[in-house]
């Protein structure tokens, strides 16, 4: 399936995937991040229960230096 992550189109060899699996795949497990799927924030506790679908658009953000 294809998903847009932070504006980039990404292809995955799976038909079904949870957000938790995607996070693990991207080596982000345990990292302090927040995720928005199609404009809606997904609580961290829901990652393992949230199935991704073809053409979903994700924003994955973290905290960086800023004033």
């Amino acid at each position: 399936m294809q998903i847009t992550i932070n504006g980039h189109l990404k292809s995955f060899d799976y038909d079904r995937m949870t957000i938790a699996e995607l996070v693990a795949h991207m080596n982000l497990t345990g990292k302090r991040i927040a995720i928005e799927c199609n404009g809606e924030i997904i609580a961290r506790s829901q990652y393992e229960f949230t199935q991704l679908s073809q053409d979903d658009a994700l924003e994955i953000v973290g905290a960086v230096g800023g004033g």
Partner: protein, 267 residues
């Protein structure tokens, strides 16, 4: 010093802070320098920006928050780079999720990429939404006293007018407006943006500001750690000077500081 003065703490959204200097975490050479400068500043509240995670590479690279652990600092996630109320609200909702329900935020909505001057109309719209959603909003704004008052009435927990443009280091350009804002406000007024050197910070505090938020003045100094230390002292000196109450200004004085009698000429 009297006990009253010793307990002179900054209170924001019901939480007490000993330091009245708030600092940004951007523009430093590396995280070690960021940490060293923040330690020297004595700041307890540090701003952070919310940005897209770098996907793919460097998953094990240290992050800013590793150097500034949440047990030691109060984070102030900002909306830097947002040009609409919608963008700003979206960013801070993500920040709240990112920081486990953290409510204290810095709202700024910009109006122009060249000057980074705030768009107060979008700022007011975003402030209304955020306050309704339970955020504690410290709001960056222009030095317009009417807008500052409206932001207070919306329910923001602190109002933060600019001293001059973000990153300009031009100092306090309109002390009179700041004074009107401070006199009218029942919530803390902090100067945010434009401070260039320690004396600017001291002047802000002498005007009666509750605190100062700065980033570039420290990060872009030749020696950021030394400037952070200077800022800490300036904030403290300015605050004490404000509390002490300055002498009245006079064009000249007919009352010298030394005795007028007992002169050796015997006159």
């Amino acid at each position: 010093m009297r006990e009253l003065d010793m307990n002179d703490e900054l209170i924001i959204a019901g939480k007490n802070y000993q330091s009245r200097l708030l600092v940004g975490t951007g523009k430093y050479r590396d995280f070690a320098e960021t940490r060293a400068a923040i330690d020297a500043s004595g700041a307890q509240i540090v701003t952070v920006a919310i940005r897209r995670t770098n996907i793919g590479q460097h998953a094990n690279e240290p992050s800013l928050l590793d150097f500034l652990p949440p047990e030691e600092f109060t984070y102030l996630p900002n909306t830097a780079g947002c040009y609409s109320a919608e963008e700003a609200v979206r960013t801070l909702r993500l920040a709240r999720e990112l920081l486990d329900g953290h409510k204290l935020v810095k709202l700024e909505v910009l109006g122009d990429p060249n000057t980074l001057y705030p768009n107060v109309i979008e700022t007011i719209a975003a402030a209304k939404t955020l306050v309704q959603e339970g955020f504690d909003v410290m709001v960056y704004t222009s030095d317009d006293p009417i807008i500052a008052k409206q932001l207070e009435e919306i329910g923001c927990c602190a109002v933060m007018p600019l001293a001059s443009l973000i990153g300009s280091g031009m100092g306090i350009l309109n002390p009179w407006n700041l004074q009107i804002i401070i006199e009218n406000a029942k919530i803390p007024v902090l100067v945010d943006a434009g401070v260039g050197c320690a004396s600017d910070a001291a002047i802000a505090m002498e005007l009666g500001c509750a605190g100062v938020l700065m980033n570039t003045a420290i990060a872009s100094a030749k020696n950021p750690v030394l400037m952070a230390s200077a800022m800490k002292k300036a904030i403290e000196a300015g605050r004490e000077s404000f509390l002490a109450g300055r002498m009245p200004k006079k064009l000249y004085s007919a009352s010298p500081s030394s005795p007028t009698t007992g002169m050796i000429s015997g006159a």
